[in-house]
Symmetry: C2
Subunit: 401 residues, 2 copies
């Protein structure tokens, strides 16, 4: 789908590399520039032999060139690569690349059609632009962290993290969208051939998904509060505990679904109770209702509970663990969970497939996360035109690795 597109990644950690993973999954040529010490994410999470398992997926479909950006020759190599690229994606702190001699102006000097994409905590402008950006701060300032909590007064435990750096990934996905929009504008028949700047902030990416939160605050002064596993406007819908220690989500928040659920629980008496007769009443008494449902679900193992709910046509699902995802029939049937040979580990690695699915031009996992500098020579030779002697000399000087 995106073959013929060349993307230069000056990225590290999660956001920029996630963006280029999405582009690479659809066929773009991704050139990842790493410092001679490598992207730190190569060591993140569980490892085998000092090599992160996550990296196998995070780095897939990319070519790695290891370069010292503090050396003038390193900067020149990046400029020469930018001259041949459609897109640059970077997530340094704003201003840092310019200080290295890699400002947008210089990157575009020989290539006015270059799409320059910045991903940062707060964006490239404004009073907070230089502040350190961590995923947790993007999520906090985007308004997400306040909401991932139980209702005020329920517990003294802190709001939870969603378990992954969701702010970084959402920002990376927004960047991929912006890049494709800029490329369409540049390359279509009526296009002007000019590059654009895509400026994505983690904070803003999260805030953009906060639905009615801002309009409701502005008009009514309503400060949206966390609602635990439930929803403020419909009940019952929550995660309920099972006998074998799992959680099953049940959404029975319409009148017909609630009738079915009460029947399954053997609690038809609830249908006559004023506290539960309509959605408004059920929302007002959601805590008591959830407690009763939990009492019932705790008598069943997850699989049996799911089977009963399916049989009654009540929307439900186990809260999937990685094991559940790995063995899910639907994921396997759509190639969304797949085994990929990783020669660095000498074994197959389980990876998530490609999103979105485009049946006429499906994305591919062409190769797994490369070794550091695995493509240094190939890139210097084929794209910069250096011979072996020059490459060796640069390597001796520590400019490339």
């Amino acid at each position: 789908m995106l073959s013929g597109l060349r993307v230069l990644e000056l990225g590290h950690f999660v956001a920029a590399p996630f963006c280029t993973r999405l582009l690479g999954d659809l066929g773009a040529d991704i050139i990842k520039v790493e410092p001679p010490t490598g992207d730190p994410v190569r060591q993140w999470g569980e490892q085998i032999g000092g090599r992160s398992l996550w990296w196998s997926m995070h780095g897939r479909n990319k070519r790695s060139i290891a370069l010292d950006l503090k050396a003038p020759q390193g900067v020149d190599i990046v400029l020469a690569l930018a001259a041949q690229a459609d897109v640059v994606v970077e997530n340094f702190r704003p201003g840092q690349l310019a200080r290295l001699g890699l400002s947008s102006e210089r990157l575009r000097e020989r290539n006015p059609g270059l799409i320059v994409t910045h991903i940062s905590g707060f964006g490239q402008s404004g009073p907070y632009r230089s502040r350190a950006a961590f995923g947790l701060i993007g999520e906090a300032i985007g308004g997400l962290r306040h909401l991932t909590n139980h209702p005020p007064g329920t517990t003294t435990l802190p709001p939870v993290r969603v378990g992954v750096s969701i702010g970084d990934s959402i920002a990376g996905l927004y960047a991929a969208f912006g890049i494709m929009a800029a490329l369409w504008q540049r390359d279509r028949g009526e296009g002007d051939g000019m590059g654009r700047t895509v400026d994505v902030a983690l904070t803003e990416s999260v805030l953009s998904m906060m639905e009615g939160m801002l309009p409701e605050y502005g008009a009514l002064g309503k400060v949206k509060q966390p609602t635990g596993g439930g929803i403020a406007t419909a009940a019952p819908t929550n995660a309920y505990p099972t006998r074998d220690g799992d959680w099953v989500l049940i959404g029975a928040n319409s009148d017909p679904l609630f009738v079915k659920l009460a029947g399954l629980m053997g609690r038809e008496d609830l249908l006559d109770a004023v506290e539960y007769r309509g959605n408004r009443e059920r929302v007002a008494n959601a805590a008591a209702l959830d407690a009763m449902i939990s009492e019932w679900t705790r008598q069943h193992d997850a699989d049996a509970l799911v089977a009963m709910l399916d049989e009654a046509d009540i929307p439900n699902s186990k809260a999937y663990t990685s094991a559940d995802c790995a063995n899910d029939e639907q994921y396997l049937s759509r190639g969304m969970v797949r085994e990929v040979k990783d020669e660095h580990f000498g074994m197959t690695i389980l990876q998530a497939g490609v999103v979105p699915h485009i049946p006429e031009s499906p994305g591919q996992i062409r190769w797994v996360g490369p070794g550091l500098g695995e493509h240094t020579d190939e890139i210097l030779r084929d794209l910069i035109g250096l011979d072996e002697q020059s490459i060796n000399s640069l390597r001796k000087q520590g400019v490339v690795a």
Copy 2:
């Protein structure tokens, strides 16, 4: 940026309308086809005068045509609109549009370049394709809900929802990315002019963001477990309570940052303790460490605490509420929080700005969420070529509203 692009939305609720909001924010012409009863989201959340505040933002930059898809003339109108569109975005249950006479084949009959975009719970193929899709199920099966919880054994409370339909919004964003990739492939110089199918599943969109979860399970059998407000691999990093009842996130999980934090707390003694001397030790004793930090943070109001942490250059942030977002200097300076005149309410409505920020061709809020069928006549006249009499006749028959 996307002016000249026409998108037909056959959508409702969150996922498909969020996708088209993103395209409309960048300038595309969005034609939203609604049933004569309207998209239910028009009544979701807080309302003024029976009108949802969220809708002002969710429906912005779109034209609304109210049509009965069960009437053959309604179907003909959609086919005529599809003939003039670049993209269709729909989120009915798989197969439902085909049953209405609006299969991909029929939609493309007069327009082989049409990009047909489906957003569904499980995707358009596979054994679960026909199952009901709710956001909560996408999040559960994507593996997110299992992780948004406190560590096993900490509490009997259920895992939390992130407060918004994050699975729907992420799927909508993936669809927007896929659409632009398909358009670039279709319209660039070397393009083939052909349409593509973009098939996005909520479950898969969420799973694609789960980082190392699948590779680690596959290689090591490790089932990723929730870690509450913290991270499994670094400490201290969490949300900590303040005297005035807020939460402040602190990320002091490197040795130099931990030294600064211990100094600020007046607890230099911690630096000599074997339990906290390195990250590995701090992770092993994170619960005790978090308890000590919480004891300290509880003595300070959020603003004072943030000021102290800023002064010491320790990454931190209040967990922003909607009020904090609405008043944040950075958001205001970048136009990410803005007031938009909404004539339906007769007042200005606070909305989130446009992401991504593209300085050369900035997105715009051209108008707010329209009334139901506000553009029915305009669309039938300008795009289908109907005269007033024919429109009135269709209206009398209940085909349009």
